[in-house]
Amino acid sequence: MRLLSRKEEMILLTIWRLGDEAYGLVIGEKVAELSGKYWSIGAVYDVLDRLSEKGYIDGRLGEASNDRGGKRKKYYKISLHGIEALKELNAVHEQMWNGLPSIDT
């Protein structure tokens, strides 16, 4: 299985963090806030597309509102697959960092 890319990891973690409230706009704002980097909406959706193609997240259509010009939201949730991918990435991380001399000099 291919390892998650950095962007995918960030979005996945954000979705996890947001729990039931993870839809495009919120995910984008949260990930920008957490990472301190600018994320365009397009960039967020690009990653969301890829994650759902791979089956790491599941989408659920939410309610439409006037606020959104009558368009519906799509809430995302990590799937079991996604959790596994995160676990694997984490394991690789730990293995890579394990036993290294400290970088805080």
Binding site: S40, I41, K71
Partner: protein, 860 residues
Amino acid sequence: MKLLIHIFDFLLKRFSTDENYDLIAGDIKEKYNYILENKGAVAALSWYAFQISTSAPNLAAAKFRRSISMLGNYIKTAFRNIKWHKTVSIINISGLVIGMAACFLILQYVNDELNYDKFNKEFNNIYRVIEKDISNGVEGYDVYLSGNAAEVLMDEIPEVKVAVKFFKWYENKSLKVDNREFEIKQFVFTNEHFFKMFDYELKYGSKSSGLADPNGIILTERISNQIFGNEDPSGKVLVDDRGDSFIVTGVIDDSKYLSHLEFDALVRWEANKYEWARMWNSSLATTYLLINENSDPSLLGEKILDVIKKYEQQSVEVGQLTYDVQPLSDIHLRSEFISNNPEVGKGDINYIYVFSAVAILILLTAFINFMNLTTANAAVRAKEVGLRKVIGAKRAQLIKQFLGESMIISTFSFGLAVLSLYSLEPVFGQIFGKVIEIDLINNYEMTLVFAGLALAIGLLAGFYPAFIISQFNPVSVFQNKNAMRNSGNVFRKFLVVFQFSVTVIMIISSLVIYYQLNYMTGKEVGFNTEQIIFSKVQEPVLEGKDNLIKGRLQQLSSVKDVSITNFVMGGHRVSTSIKKENAPDKNISANLLRIDNNYIDLYGMEIVEGRNFNDNLSEDSNNTILVNEMLVKMLDIKDPINKKILYWGEAKTIIGVVKDFHFGSFHDKIEPVLFNIDSNWLSYSIVMKVTTADMPNTLAGIEKVWVEVFPEAQFNYKFLDENIGAMYNRDRQTAKMVLYFAIIAITIACLGLFGLSSYTSELRTKEIGVRKVLGATTQDIMKLFLKEYSSVIVVANVIAWPVSYYFMNKWLENFAYRIEMNSELFLIGTITALVIAVAAISYNMIRSAWSNPVNSIRSE
């Protein structure tokens, strides 16, 4: 304000996939409204603009990825469908492969034919000089000029930049190197300007020095390899039969060039040491002129005439000979009008038209199959389509899917067709009588044409079913399977009619050609052709040995008769202009045969009036001749015996009239012939009637005598019937090609019928089952099938008859002696087509008729 938002929205829509658009637009709207409320319109708008511009690349990337994966999905489904509908797919693909391969092959052939001589950079400014003779009241064209003409034309006519002569030696020329002897078939004398006009590249040697040496010789690669192996032969010396030596100065790989010029070796005109061949009145060299770009070629004729008149004092009779020029690029295909054209029978523009038409028809039949089967199969697949629609497939998606499938099939077939072209290349040589090289890499224009055709077929064939099927109403599909049966039925029938017409036309055409060939080979030519062999001998070799060789050969028990003549049927003819003694103004051109007293008997010809030449030739003075009936008729002489006619400035007495015989091929009417015994020629043929019981011994005996009498000449015998048969090579080639392509067309049509019938039986399984339960017999079911196709076949025949009648009549007009097209031909054609059609559908017909109704009814 609003406008800007609209523009942004539009951009967003362009960049994102349909699915994402709704979500993103919603998100943006939400945030936009938030900013609008809190920070005002400007901030909101600029935020929007910023979002769009930064999102665009990501969105586009996502969209692109999606479309790729969709494409992959289409391809996957398409392959799955191709696999599910195996019969139809196999029929489709094999039909297309055959059709494409045949079509590409013919196109390649046509392309080759059309590109003859165009490798010469200046081909547009190169012309061949043509002599026009109107002495018979009919125009006769000739391409041979004196070998001296080229230089004077170049000197005297200002717009002629370069003039090249091309004189092919009459016979094989033998060249010796270290005691090994080689026969050069096409030994050509030309001048040093050759490479200034014709852009051949030399493999060894250089164009500038190649013909600079008067003793230089340029060989083709084939000959060079034969003599010297693979090494560079430059500087090697070859010695000819006269003892003259030639130094090899260059090698040309002429197989690379599509050129009407044929040669094995090129030497300088100066090497031509034969007095007679250097005279002004020997017409033997074709002459080519490279003229200035801006000069008018139509004015050249008169200038050439003036120059020739100036140099060639005698023999040009005013008003009878004129000159004209023919563009180089016309020579290969448009030279049929030239009577002694060396290129005759090599190319013909009419065949190019015919074969192009055949190529298109074959491809069309294959295309029609493809389209028919796809539509027909689509009806079978109606349920699948219905289901897809029910679960939300859009029409555009279905169209894409069907188009995708047909594109995949056509691409796949294209690949297979190309492969089979490569692997079958050697076979084509046989079909076309010449090598057709398929080189898709270097010849990329053709590759593009082929690929374009394949793509077009895929698109067009997929288009119709795609639209028809995507229209299906899912509800009716599920309610009633037969609702789909009539979809596109009329159109499909029309296509089958067309396809079948083509098949019948091809069958009838092959039959007509075959009958005509048979007729020609079986028709009496008016003389003996069997058991006759001949061998050529040069005048200096024969000189004074006429009676010796005749006597010696006649002593052999295996030789029944011997005659010496200047002409053998099927060979090069000589004609001369003759006049009636008392009507000196009227010229008639007659073929001239130099014979002896044995000739008439040897050939079994018949003297209808008067007598043959006497056994003791001296009794017949030089002034006696024989003529054939046609000449008597054309001269309009009553009681021709002892009448006099004029030729070569002398009066000759007719002593006998020979019954007409077919002097040339059956393409031509019987021509006037004049026989004399005293004329002198450059070469003769010794014709022998032999017993064929023990041919090897007979030939060995003759050869022994031959070598004794002519130690310096070889005995290269040929059979007369082969020589005559060679006149029909072109026709035989045509017959072969038409036959092969007819078989291809028939195969494709059969595949189509087979496919259609399997579709019918599948669609009507239930109906047939019910019929059988209700008591229908096997015959009844078969009738059901036949009924469906019989009308189609009848209509196709009605169309095919007049069309093939028209075209074959045109073809037959090429022959002065030809068969009549009778109803028998058409009946045979139709019956053949019928039998083939029934055979094609019989498998499915019988399978349906024998099927157990229990199974078919239970099938739903």
